[in-house]
């Protein structure tokens, strides 16, 4: 260390000499240290890289295991649907069985009402989804933006209705639909379905609307829209992620529903595919090949809807509107 008091008493020549000396010794020190530091740096870098590689490997491992667990049953069903009639109960685990054939698909389409059931399901599901989402989006808007008596209680009732198991609601639903004379009809099904998924959709949408700053609507009002206009032009376009989640939820629940359909529909002509496929299950003989083929076919619409709507599921759409 250079002592300040000493330096102030030194002459300029002494000072510069001392400076040179100090500089020299510092350079020496640096020369000694640098190789060591470089080696340490290399070591650290390598171990960091290795750790990074292990991390990526572990992440992928978990993802691959999960994917496999999800896909395995699907592959089995696919393999079963391809088996020829005489090998239905084989324990063969190969994906494409010996003598693979599409005969189950052909006979499903030819000999049963499968297409009709698919059509019924499609009509009911699509109508349910659109009606459900439009009811939920407007109701949720009221819950999010307006003050009215019973607002809090309303939300709680909606939430608690979700806690009641669907099975318990079968009987009252049956009675209501019968009183409305809507048994065995599309309309009865659509009403039952779209109403039952409303609470979930309203909660999802209300939560999303709450994150949209109010000043956006106020700006729209001042810019000259009506209240409805502000909802339509500003809130709805910004809510597409939540709207598509609500839509997907409505779609999948209605598409896969069995219990309510079992109660409301009773003619084979009106069956949805869930009921229809169980038609194939006889007391003495279950046509597993056709059953599997049907199961494969009904995943197609859901797959399309999911793939299409995934592009709307981008969150962060409101970024940049206001200072955040």
């Amino acid at each position: 260390m250079i002592d300040n008091k000493k330096t102030s008493a030194m002459s300029p020549e002494e000072l510069s000499e001392k400076y040179e000396k100090t500089k020299e010794s510092l350079d020496q020190l640096r020369g000694m240290l640098m190789p060591f530091l470089k080696a340490q740096y290399e070591k650290n870098r390598k171990s960091l890289e290795r750790r990074e590689k292990i991390k990526i490997f572990l992440i992928h491992l978990v993802i691959i295991i999960c994917c496999f667990i999800c896909i395995y049953p699907l592959l089995r069903i696919f393999s079963i649907s391809l088996r020829p009639g005489d090998k239905l109960f084989s324990t063969d685990l190969s994906l494409i069985p010996d003598g693979a054939t599409f005969s189950a698909y052909v006979s499903l389409l030819k000999n049963t009402n499968f297409l009709r059931w698919l059509w019924n399901s499609l009509v009911i599901t699509i109508a349910t989804s659109f009606i459900g989402v439009s009811l939920a989006s407007t109701a949720a808007y009221a819950f999010s933006r307006f003050r009215f008596p019973g607002k809090k209680i309303g939300m709680i009732i909606l939430l608690s209705s979700q806690m009641i198991p669907a099975g318990m609601l079968i009987l009252p639903l049956f009675l209501m639909i019968m009183k409305m004379n809507l048994m065995n009809s599309y309309l009865g099904m659509i009403i039952a379905y779209s109403v039952s998924s409303l609470p979930f959709s309203i909660w999802i949408l209300k939560g999303y609307y709450d994150t949209i700053p109010r000043s956006l609507e106020e700006a729209a009002l001042v810019d000259g829209t009506s209240a409805v206009g502000a909802f339509w032009r500003i809130i709805l376009p910004l809510s597409t992620p939540a709207l598509s989640i609500a839509f997907l939820f409505n779609f999948t629940t209605a598409w896969n529903e069995y219990l309510v359909a079992r109660v409301v529909l009773f003619s084979s002509q009106q069956y949805t595919w869930t009921l229809g496929l169980f038609e194939l299950q006889g007391q003495y003989l279950t046509q597993w090949g056709m059953f599997a083929a049907g199961s494969m076919l009904v995943t197609i619409p859901v797959l399309i809807v999911f793939l299409y709507s995934s592009k709307w599921l981008i969150s962060g759409l409101t970024l940049g509107s206001v200072k955040g």
Binding site: P213, S215, L216, E218, A219, A220, L221, V222, D223, G224, T225, S226, G229, I234, P237, L238, L317, T318, L319, G320, S321, V322, K323
Partner: protein
């Protein structure tokens, strides 16, 4: 362009009275700034004019027409929000043309107006971008642009600069001043920043506790504050207040506190307006305190003080001085004094203010 009148405006949220009989006039083409601390009701007043809040009592007139019940879209006003409130799913150009499209303005007109406003605000190169891709200052420009293209009767600004950093705020302040010169528009501007108010306004309205405290030109409000609140709120650094009593003897008035005794000449305070022994508050701005200067016409007697803290600001310095137990802040040319120094302090009579302590109203001339 248009004039605006607020007549006896009252606003209550349940039992909570936010505005209590507010009367404000905005003349045609005037830049009026309402300034006050947060919670004083200034934003509520602005939002009532926009139609975003209901009016509990009183009338709002635009060009003499009562608009209390008009829907916001029917009032022909444009508003710039504190948080910009840009539509995130639209580009800058779409944001700016939104209101014109609603009015079914022909597309050529819309394009021309958007182009013109964008050029004025220097945002032409961003027209195709979404708000997300803009910086805070640019977003604020777009928000202003959205207001300009409409050519409204009245512009409303709700604390438009409070979200910007200090440097940008200064820049935008100048821009808004220039904009007012160019547009020649009626503007109602709400802020809690007295610097913005002083620099931008044709006229200032100071609000506090749901009431108008004073209105006038920036100079009037600064040099003749109507009460203690205005005196303390306008001006930076804050005015010094000395609390004590008046002593009136044979036509001569004095201010006396435990630590300070100064003469109040008739040019400052009419002896008839005070009683002997009345509790008064004397206000003097830091700029009007001289330190270590010889006796001079227009200055008070010298007061002995001790320098507590000095803050060097460059060519000026803030001196916190104890006169007995009373601490005052003086802002003088920097000479590099050291804390603990004994100093002689004199106040400038021309810019002193005397207030009655009970009513808090100004009693000096």
């Amino acid at each position: 362009m248009a004039s605006v009148e607020f007549k006896n405006i009252v606003k209550r949220f349940k039992e909570n009275t936010v505005l209590n009989g507010v009367n404000v006039d905005i003349k045609d083409k005037e830049f009026l700034v309402i300034v006050g601390p947060s919670g004083c009701g200034k934003s509520t007043l602005l939002r009532m004019l926009a139609g975003l809040e209901t009016v509990t009592d009183g009338d709002i007139l635009i060009d003499g027409e009562r608009v209390n019940e008009y829907h916001p879209s029917k009032r022909n006003i444009a508003m710039v929000f504190q948080d910009y409130a840009l539509y995130p799913h639209m580009t800058v150009a779409e944001n700016m043309s939104f209101s014109l499209k609603l009015k079914k303005t022909p597309q050529e007109d819309i394009d021309a107006r958007v182009k013109e406003a964008a050029a004025t605000l220097q945002i032409t190169q961003y027209l195709a971008r979404k708000p997300q891709a803009l910086s805070g200052g640019q977003r604020q420009r777009v928000a202003i642009g959205r207001a300009i293209v409409r050519k409204p009767k009245v512009f409303l600004f709700d604390e438009p600069l409070s979200n910007l950093d200090a440097k940008l705020r200064e820049e935008m302040r100048v821009e808004i001043a220039k904009l007012h010169q160019r547009l020649n528009a009626t503007i109602l501007y709400v802020t809690h920043d007295q610097v913005e108010a002083m620099t931008l306004a044709d006229r200032i309205v100071v609000m506090y506790n749901g009431k108008v405290q004073q209105e006038g030109t920036p100079m009037e409000v600064y040099s003749k504050p109507a009460n203690l609140f205005v005196a303390g709120f306008i001006g930076s650094p804050t005015m010094n207040f000395l609390r004590g009593n008046a002593a009136v003897k044979g036509g001569k008035t004095e201010f006396i506190s435990n630590d300070i005794k100064i003469t109040l000449p008739a040019s400052l305070l009419d002896p008839k307006t005070v009683k002997d022994g009345q509790e008064i508050v004397v206000g003097v701005r830091p700029d009007d305190i001289s330190v270590d200067v010889p006796a001079k016409e227009g200055l008070t007697e010298a007061l002995e003080g001790k320098l507590d803290v000095s803050e060097l600001l460059g060519h000026r310095e803030n001196l916190y001085i104890y006169i007995g137990e009373t601490r005052v802040l003086a802002n003088t040319d920097a000479v590099g004094r050291t804390p603990g120094d004994k100093v002689k302090v004199r106040f400038n009579y021309a810019n002193m203010h005397v207030f009655d302590k009970a009513t808090e109203k100004r009693i000096s001339r």
